[in-house]
């Protein structure tokens, strides 16, 4: 165990943890904005109650996304100074743009939304939640453009041992990013849809109130639509991986040798013939490269070393991602079918909705493990190895201390967040509020 291993663990722990909250921020923000729009359009009281109810849950979660996100921006410099120095010219730009174009908008307008219920005209107040939600989604685009560059670097040249950007547009329209953005944002909407389903399911078992059926229906539609986007963009990502990151694709499939007409392994022992070739290249007889043959070619190209990512993690995370993601989307399609034309939602289905909370969270986590562990041993594919990216001046002790601090703090906060969310879900929406005492209307949204 050396400083490099711990730095990797720290990055893994803090990033995976960060992304438990981010998808909910991205998807739930839009959902809340949609609810408030529905209230604005129809004037129906229950939309307002739902807006505030889910708005409160959104804010509890939003706080965690923000504070764990700050760590990420510093961590590149703290633990990965060699990486940062090498890539900053290219990689730093989307990060700076993210802060300038997305974070300012998100946090400023969210502040206006939380405290502005009785200060702003209704229409402006509605625009604030939309601006905040758009900011969240925009930030996802920039960070994914940066991330995509690590896997498929474009628009740069290496001068004096550092990457120099030559084309910002190429970086921002990297094919890898354009496939990844809808994939990740779509997944975020599935997470948020699953969250709303779980909450609505809980309440549907306790009350006949029509508003929960409405919330569940809206979440079902959102999840199912997002499922289409995620599947489509996932297919494109797979084809791009075939060209750009063949090692990741081979490891995800456990394919050791270059194979023409390669089959798709569902689980070990169950294989659909030729499907992998078709999914990768649109041709049932195409050749898909295997890990061992790639290893040999990479050694010729990059010199001695092991260029294969961890086969077990990559193989299984791929299956968990697809399996759990599909299960959630399948549940939403089933729900839509069973509740069609104002049919009642059966209680067993409401009970099943509870699963829609953990399943997509596990799926997105697995997706990131596949994506980033599958990129190893590189931080920038073909350019910089992870082992050469770490901060040379940061000691094992320092990383051990920070890893311990972050793990303990994050663990404690996870428990606190879970307790807090559960309590507010159980409490349910506030009853219709009296008109006067405007300042006292929003105690729970404010401080």
């Amino acid at each position: 165990m050396d400083a490099l291993d711990l730095a990797r663990w720290q990055f893994g722990v803090t990033t995976v943890y960060h992304f438990l909250f981010v998808p909910l921020t991205i998807g739930l923000g839009v959902f809340v904005a949609g609810l408030q729009t529905a209230w604005h359009r129809t004037g129906k009281e229950h939309y307002l109650r739902l807006t505030k109810f889910f708005g409160k849950l959104f804010l509890i979660n939003f706080a965690m996304g923000v504070v764990t996100g700050i760590v990420q921006e510093f961590q590149f410099g703290m633990n990965w100074s060699e990486y940062s120095t090498f890539v900053g010219d290219v990689f730093g730009a989307p990060l700076a743009l993210e802060a300038l174009l997305a974070f300012f908008m998100e946090s400023t307008f969210l502040g206006l939304w939380i405290f502005g219920w009785d200060r702003l005209p209704k229409r402006v107040h509605l625009a604030c939640i939309w601006a905040a939600a758009i900011g969240s989604n925009l930030s996802a685009y920039f960070i994914l453009a940066a991330n995509a560059w690590m896997k498929h670097p474009v628009g740069y040249e290496v001068v004096d041992g550092r990457a120099r950007m030559t084309d910002l547009w190429a970086v921002l329209t990297n094919s890898t990013a354009l496939a990844q953005v809808p994939h990740v944002i779509g997944a975020a909407f599935i997470v948020a849809g699953g969250f709303v389903l779980a909450v609505s399911g809980y309440w549907l078992l306790r009350t006949k109130a029509d508003m929960w059926r409405g919330a569940a229906r809206a979440a079902l539609v959102m999840t199912a639509l997002a499922g289409v986007v995620v599947a489509g963009s996932g297919d494109v990502s797979g084809k791009l991986a075939h060209e750009q990151q063949p090692m990741k694709l081979a490891a995800a499939e456990g394919l050791e040798r270059d194979t023409a007409g390669a089959g798709f392994t569902v689980v070990p022992g169950v294989e659909i013939p030729k499907l992998l070739s078709f999914l990768s290249a649109g041709d049932f007889d195409a050749t898909v490269q295997g890990t061992e043959d790639l290893q040999r070619r990479y050694e010729e190209r990059f010199g001695p070393g092991d260029y294969r990512p961890d086969p077990v993690v990559v193989f299984w995370s791929y299956r968990v991602m697809i399996g759990f993601g599909l299960a959630t989307v399948g549940l939403s399609v089933l729900g839509l079918w069973l509740t069609r034309r104002r049919r009642d939602l059966p209680p067993w289905l409401a009970r099943l909705f509870v699963l829609a909370l953990p399943l997509p969270l596990l799926a997105v986590t697995a997706g990131w493990l596949l994506s980033e562990i599958g990129r190893q041993p590189w931080t920038v594919t073909g350019e910089l190895l992870t082992a050469a990216s770490v901060s040379p001046g940061v000691s094992l002790t320092e990383v051990a201390v920070s890893l311990t601090i972050f793990t303990l703090l994050y663990g404690g906060l996870a428990v606190a967040e879970a307790v807090l969310l559960t309590r507010h879900v159980r409490k349910g929406p506030e009853e219709s509020e009296p008109a006067p005492a405007a300042e006292k209307l929003e105690p729970s949204l404010m401080y």
Partner: protein, 309 residues
């Protein structure tokens, strides 16, 4: 181009210190100027709508450092590893505390998080930058104490400006008390900055030079702030503390321009001209909008925060 981007980064950090400075101060003071839960809410509501947006100044400053001077960004944050970890811990505790305190049954843990989470960065940013400029542990401690006191003063003046009733009265007392602590610390820290800058041997040593002026002016602004709060001119006092922070920051960055980090010059740390040009254009277009809507937020919440009965 290097100077332009160094200037932009200095501006972003300065904006961060001026804006988050009072957030930290209010966070630290809230339990002490409030007698009950309602007053505490009143105190914290002065920063409620704005603190998160203020914090984005830090995110943008650091992002701009990463993009424009990668080696500087990487060098500074890996060199000051442990203090930066503690800053992050502070920002986490404070952020969660602020967002959650209205949603828990007993906010005592949140309040503790807000106080500790405000104190840590208020002290540590001063310590890190003092060490960066003056290069000694003593300078770090004095610098940290100075920025901690400065944030408390700045926050107290802000509270006095933005509240009414008993909290406003107590905030004024707190401002005077913290002013009494800040001024001597300022005398030591700012004269250290004015005369001792450039620990790496590139600056002029003990002689006064152009780069000393902002530090001395900051001292004057601080003295003016205390006098103004004594005379109950809260708006002007706030302008004075804000100016003092901005001048201190300007003085620090004037030193860093020459010696950004041991063994590193800005030119070596810089990104290529292409990246800087692209970012300049985008920044020029976007920044006015950011300033506009953030300014509008302050306008929307310009009314003094009162107790609700």
């Amino acid at each position: 181009m290097i100077d332009l981007w160094f200037g932009i980064i200095a501006f972003l950090w300065t904006g961060y210190f001026v804006l988050e400075g009072f957030d930290f101060g209010v966070g630290l003071l809230a339990p002490f100027v409030s007698r009950d839960g309602d007053e505490q809410r009143q105190s914290l509501q002065t920063i409620g709508p704005v603190w998160d947006g203020n914090e984005v100044w830090l995110i943008t400053a650091v992002g701009a450092m990463f993009a424009a001077f990668p080696a500087w960004y990487a060098g500074v944050f890996s060199a000051f590893y442990v203090p930066v970890v503690l800053v992050l811990v502070g920002l986490i505790m404070r952020g969660v505390g602020l967002e959650w305190r209205g949603k828990v049954t007993n906010p005592v843990w949140c309040d503790l998080g807000i106080v500790v989470g405000s104190a840590l960065p208020a002290f540590l940013w001063g310590a890190v930058f003092a060490n960066l400029v003056l290069g000694s542990a003593l300078a770090a401690v004095v610098g940290g104490l100075f920025t901690l006191a400065l944030c408390v003063l700045h926050g107290a003046v802000f509270l006095a400006l933005r509240t009414d009733g008993p909290v406003r009265r107590r905030a004024r007392v707190a401002a005077l008390a913290s002013g009494a602590v800040t001024l001597p610390l300022a005398a030591v820290a700012l004269s250290g900055l004015a005369f001792g800058g450039g620990a790496t041997g590139t600056a002029t040593g003990t002689a006064l030079d152009a780069r000393s002026i902002p530090a001395l002016a900051a001292m004057a602004a601080l003295a003016a702030a205390v006098a103004l709060i004594w005379r109950r001119r809260e708006g002007w006092a706030f302008a004075a503390t804000a100016t003092a922070i901005a001048l201190t920051s300007a003085s620090v960055f004037a030193e860093l321009r020459v010696a950004p980090l041991d063994g590193l010059t800005l030119a070596e740390a810089a990104s290529g001209p292409y990246t800087m040009t692209m970012l300049t254009w985008i920044g020029l277009i976007a920044l006015p909008f950011v300033l506009l809507y953030q300014g509008w937020t302050y306008w929307v919440f310009r009314k003094r925060v009162s107790l609700v009965h």
